[in-house]
């Protein structure tokens, strides 16, 4: 696979088909952890880490266990198990190595398990027929796209905190609307990679 192809995968996953803004994957943590820039960045990094590893692991599981044994229908179960274990592992590591980060991410670290972007990217990798390297690249790029979207969002939400949003729209509704407008702005990247 040449550089060009990899670049296409990256630009596509980060900008054009941004996993949150265009594909709706990972919306729960996106809405939940984007209130502050620091935590958003932490979450982004955690997701990046988990997604990169998960892409690799699930590819291996798919191609070296499920396919040879003809057990493709077990894909969902197997993948989610791998991801759940990975997330728990990351949680343990962060709790030990950076208590402040752990405190900041709080309940959202376990939520990476239910971050559908992680499982989503694994499934998409398989469905798109990516090889090992493209899978890894796609997973990482998707997570970078997630991080980009979430830090932009966090910046805006910190500003929204200071504004006079009508009470009914405070919190999630205004965040959703902002995400929509952000998604609209990302339309500009449409067609950049053919």
């Amino acid at each position: 696979m040449d550089i060009r192809e990899i670049m296409i995968v990256i630009i596509s996953a980060v900008l054009i088909n941004n996993y949150v803004l265009q594909r709706f994957l990972g919306c729960c943590p996106y809405l939940g952890v984007s209130k502050q820039l620091e935590t958003a960045l932490g979450m982004g990094m955690a997701v990046t880490f988990v997604m990169a590893i998960a892409s690799a692991f699930t590819w291996i599981v798919q191609h070296y266990i499920l396919l040879p044994l003809d057990l493709i229908f077990l894909q969902t179960i197997a993948f989610i198990l791998v991801i759940a274990a990975l997330v728990q592992f990351v949680e343990l590591v962060i709790r030990k190595s950076s208590p402040t980060l752990y405190q900041a991410l709080g309940i959202y670290l376990p939520l990476i398990t239910t971050n559908c972007a992680v499982l989503g990217v694994a499934v998409i990798n398989i469905r798109a027929g990516y090889g090992f390297l493209p899978s890894l690249v796609n997973g990482t790029a998707a997570a970078i796209g997630f991080t980009l979207a979430i830090i932009l969002m966090a910046g805006i939400r910190e500003r929204i905190e200071l504004s006079d949003v009508p009470p009914a729209l405070r919190g999630v509704p205004i965040a959703l609307i902002t995400a929509g407008l952000l998604s609209l702005a990302f339309f500009g990247f449409a067609g950049m990679v053919k």
């Binding site: 057990l71 077990l74 274990a85 592992f89």
Partner: protein
């Protein structure tokens, strides 16, 4: 078909085993300990994170309690029963000190915009602390409430509202007795009083009668009429406005009737 099922189960079991083993190892390698009592104590605390205890939120206080660096009585919001349960959890033998009376805050001033004179026209931030920095605030009375709502802004329980005549009104049901408004008030016009008591002298001015009358028509003039009529002898004077000893007060309300300037109120009647 059956071989397929067996294979599935086997694969999943193997996967589960490998991942489980890995996690078990990780759990041990990266283990950290946290005293489970902290969470237990935290569960008993009010969870308003008001900070009245002086710690960063309830969790900080819970940790301090378990370590032993804080007193159970440190949380002014906790009710007696909760405090006793916390004492059970951390095994602290301090129940004697647990406050049995719930305290609530009260504004010791009834000088509203109509009765209390102004000395200048303040035009600045709507904040009592900011206003106090300008010549002790725009009211002629230097002890009374400025009515700009700093107490409202610090109240974590939304228990205070502003009356149309610019005096804060405390919702006795919502007030948790954290005392943050008392700390925040630059005039020391907010005080804590037992919730069960109803009578309070709503004047904070220690000025002599004449000076006090000049600045506010509702100011306590130290006439001692209330003290004289009080059957429980609960009202006394010590270089200031009339004060009530809540241990003696029977809420009979005679002083309220007697006060010539009407600055004694039955606060629990709104």
């Amino acid at each position: 078909m059956s071989s397929n099922i067996i294979l599935s189960v086997a694969v999943l079991a193997a996967l589960g085993f490998i991942l489980g083993a890995g996690l078990a190892y990780a759990a041990r390698a990266f283990a950290i300990t946290r005293d489970p009592r902290i969470d237990a104590v935290l569960a008993e605390l009010p969870g308003a994170n008001c900070g009245a205890c002086g710690y960063p939120g309830c969790s900080g206080y819970a940790e301090a309690l378990v370590i032993g660096s804080a007193l159970i009585t440190g949380c002014p919001v906790s009710r007696k029963e909760a405090s006793e349960r916390i004492a059970d959890i951390i095994g602290q033998e301090e129940r004697m000190n647990i406050n049995s009376d719930k305290l609530i805050s009260v504004v010791k001033c009834c000088g509203n915009n109509n009765t209390s004179a102004r000395i200048f026209n303040y035009s600045g931030l709507e904040d009592c602390r900011a206003a106090t920095r300008f010549y002790d605030g725009p009211k002629k009375c230097r002890h009374g409430c400025l009515g700009m709502g700093t107490c409202i802004s610090v109240c974590p329980f939304n228990a205070i509202t502003m009356s149309p005549l610019k005096l804060p009104v405390i919702d006795r049901d919502r007030c948790a007795g954290c005392g943050l408004c008392v700390d925040a008030c630059p005039r020391q016009v907010m005080v804590m009083m037992p919730e069960r008591s109803g009578i309070q002298v709503l004047c904070n001015s220690g000025e002599a009668a004449k000076a006090a009358r000049q600045v506010c028509s509702k100011s306590c003039i130290k006439c001692h009429k209330c003290a004289n009529i009080c059957p429980a002898e609960a009202i006394f004077f010590d270089n200031g406005p009339a004060k009530i000893n809540f241990d003696l007060c029977t809420n009979c309300g005679l002083c309220v009737q007697e006060c010539p300037v009407k600055c004694i109120y039955e606060t629990n009647r709104g």
